[in-house]
């Protein structure tokens, strides 16, 4: 049994690293559609991880969240984002307040911080959580970083989806997911928030003729 879990945890470690790398693509690329595809890829890996954990642990309710996550994060949300991107007809690609090289360096720093801040917690753990908790925190914080440095409204939505993915992974790796009803509530909130943000991207494009949120600066002292 113990050996079984060790083997499995190696597979999950590999998936976790792949997820982190696809999150870094979000920071390092300038093409908006590549960013969305990177998010789709990461969400798909996450769903795969979730399915594997459900299979290895034998906890049935994880299968339900896996299914919902597959439909929601791999199909519905990216599909909606592609639809919005086509609809508002974005010509310029992703722009950032700071250069890509610097962003990548800062992301590396964030990953170190994620490991450092969870050190006191993970040193007592011997499950796969030991590697997954810092990775999930890193994904969350890199998503946060993408949100605050990118100018385009769509990239901010992608940052949010990334944060949610990181948290879903954190819940999964630390405690086999949250209780089912909470998990479903969280999914519902994500779906509704992405739809509302998408509608606002469209409205902002209509009134400001840009989705560069740097132009949103009428309200200040």
């Amino acid at each position: 049994m113990t050996q079984h879990i060790i083997v499995n945890s190696q597979i999950i470690d590999v998936l976790a690293i792949l997820m982190l790398m696809s999150t870094i693509i979000l920071i390092g690329t300038s093409r908006l559609k590549t960013c969305i595809w990177a998010c789709v890829f990461r969400s798909f890996l996450l769903t795969l991880t979730s399915g594997l954990i459900a299979y290895f642990s034998g906890i049935h309710h994880i299968y339900i969240t896996t299914g919902v996550s597959l439909v929601l994060k791999v199909v519905l949300v990216p599909g909606f984002l592609f639809y919005i991107v086509d609809k508002v007809n974005i010509k310029k690609e992703v722009e950032s307040y700071i250069s890509y090289t610097l962003s990548l360096l800062i992301s590396c720093g964030i990953i170190l911080i994620a490991y450092y801040s969870t050190l006191s917690i993970i040193q007592f753990e011997n499950t796969f959580m030991r590697h997954c908790l810092p990775v999930s925190l890193a994904i969350t914080l890199v998503g946060f970083f993408a949100m605050i440095t990118r100018k385009k409204a769509i990239t901010q939505i992608l940052g949010l989806v990334t944060m949610e993915d990181g948290l879903f992974f954190a819940a999964l790796s630390t405690s086999y997911g949250m209780p089912l009803i909470v998990e479903l509530g969280v999914f519902f909130d994500i779906l509704v928030s992405v739809i509302i943000m998408g509608l606002y991207v469209y409205r902002i494009k209509e009134s400001f003729d840009t989705i560069d949120t740097g132009f949103l600066r009428d309200l200040r002292e």
Binding site: S117, I121, S175, G185, F188, S193, I196, Y200, L216, E221
Partner: protein, 491 residues
């Protein structure tokens, strides 16, 4: 089952308002629905007074004194605000600013907003509490952007992005709490239930709980408007229609603070009260200090009131952080006082906006001649909100500060002294800004008279609370506040 009914009332009202499109009918449904919720909450309040706490639906719902205080504020301000909406929106409809079709969705979202806030307070599950706090953001984004001009869209975008990010960070705190409780309680579905968490909180892993509290404080603190995460608040509160601003300032920030207090209790029980109290005090003091310059040089009266909300939420956090008997009592009384007084001021602001069509203070003169009732209520409200004796806010601020000075702890005494300075500066800022608007010669074109009987009724309803609590705290409220101190202290 008893608690479930409280949640069903706003949902039915919301659906009824959407089905009946005519504003002349739906405004009465809206008022009746929120009045029913208010009455029902008083009934629940009485039950809790007798039984101390209520559990419902297999432990899914839980109410104690802390939740009943917040739901009481939600239902009181909800009723006042739906009364005010009836008058305010009728005037907007008459001028053609909004359409009846839009008002359908206004009332629908209004009552869904009340539903989500009530759900925050009555759920036993901290995960559902997170879902509900996020749902308050989602149900109000379109209300912030209701008029749909450039500045409203900007405010709505900032609101949803900043709040969603903040609350997403809080989810990490919830996950850490769940992880630590699962380590003690084992593989069970109710490891996030407040009632179960509280019994085992002293056996949690301290590192985990400390990290969780930081994420919760930053996350829910964003929604509560604690500085430095407050940047969405002045925009959203000033751009939303006045009845919604009243709900935002009066209750939404209290609901988020309610979430923080729950985790404060858990953390105190696990690692002792010092850690979370200190964090609350520091964030509270920063909020009070940050609001001062913006209040002193403000040109927009709705933003003035919004910054004042940041000050007051900071003050409440400080009072909870002080942790003494009178300061906790005072801080909780302050949530009530601030809610009724600030909502009253936002109603005045709504009347001014309808009369003068601007939110710039320099364009407004002679309120007392144009709308005498609004003018008088505005004067009372401004004196009350700045903590002038004998009004209600003075009572609660005095309790917190007196307890702070009497605590004997050098750290708390320094904080209290700084607070006195801050409150004085804010008083000056308020009086200087508002009194220029009240007197003077009004522009000729402004029609004289009040907006409607609904708006007057809503303002008088809240004024009663302001005046009564200035001199006398009703026994039912006093009992609740005392039990809250026990809940926070006996953790």
């Amino acid at each position: 089952m008893v608690i479930l009914l409280l949640l069903i009332i706003p949902i039915i009202t919301a659906i009824a308002c959407v089905l009946i499109g005519k504003h002349s009918v739906s405004k009465y449904i809206s008022i009746a629905g929120s009045f029913l919720a208010l009455l029902y909450n008083i009934f629940l309040n009485y039950n809790i007074h007798v039984q101390h706490s209520l559990l419902g639906l297999n432990g899914f719902f839980y109410m104690d004194a802390l939740s009943i205080l917040t739901t009481q504020i939600v239902t009181i301000i909800g009723f006042a605000s739906s009364l005010y909406s009836a008058g305010y929106m009728a005037a907007e409809l008459h001028e053609g600013v909004v359409t009846e079709r839009k008002l359908r969705w206004y009332y629908f979202l209004f009552h869904m907003f009340i539903f989500t806030m009530l759900l925050v307070c009555v759920t036993n599950n901290l995960g559902i509490m997170w879902v509900a706090i996020e749902a308050t953001t989602l149900s109000t984004t379109f209300l912030v952007g209701f008029y749909n001009k450039k500045q409203h869209q900007e405010a709505a975008w900032k609101y949803i992005i900043i709040c969603t990010v903040g609350i997403t960070l809080a989810l990490f705190g919830v996950i850490l709490t769940y992880h630590s409780s699962k380590g003690v309680l084992g593989e069970i579905g109710y490891a996030l239930n407040w009632t179960d968490l509280l019994t085992v909180a002293d056996r949690f892993e301290p590192h985990l709980i400390k990290l969780a509290f930081i994420f919760i404080l930053v996350g829910y603190g964003t929604k509560a408007g604690l500085a430095p995460m407050h940047t969405w608040l002045p925009d959203a509160h000033s751009q939303a229609p006045a009845p919604i601003s009243a709900l935002f300032s009066g209750v939404l920030i209290n609901c988020s603070l309610y979430g923080i207090i729950r985790y404060h209790i858990l953390t105190s029980k696990c690692v002792g009260p010092h850690y979370s109290s200190t964090l609350l005090m520091v964030f509270g003091l920063i909020s009070v200090i940050v609001s001062i310059p913006f209040i002193l040089v403000q040109r927009d009266y709705k933003r003035l009131f919004a910054y004042s909300s940041i000050e007051h939420i900071g003050f409440i956090a400080l009072g909870i952080g002080f942790g003494g008997m009178y300061s906790v009592y005072g801080a909780e009384l302050h949530t009530f006082n601030h809610a009724v007084t600030k909502s009253l001021l936002f109603f005045c602001a709504g009347n001014l906006f309808l009369k003068y069509k601007t939110t710039k203070m320099e364009s407004i003169k002679g309120i007392i001649k144009v709308t005498p009732i609004t003018g008088i209520i505005l004067i009372i409200g401004v004196f009350a909100i700045t903590g002038t004796p004998p009004f209600n806010i003075f009572v609660s601020e005095f309790m917190v500060l007196a307890d702070g000075f009497a605590s004997g702890n050098a750290f708390i005494i320094i904080f209290s002294s700084l607070l006195v300075v801050c409150i004085t500066l804010i008083f000056i800022g308020y009086i200087y800004n508002i009194f220029k608007m009240i007197f003077g010669v009004s522009p000729e074109a402004i029609p004289k008279g009040e907006i409607s009987k609904f708006t007057i009724a809503a303002m008088c309803f809240l004024l009663v609370f302001v005046l009564v609590i200035s001199f006398y705290v009703p026994p039912l409220l006093r009992e609740i506040l005392n039990s809250i101190y026990d809940i926070i202290r006996n953790a």
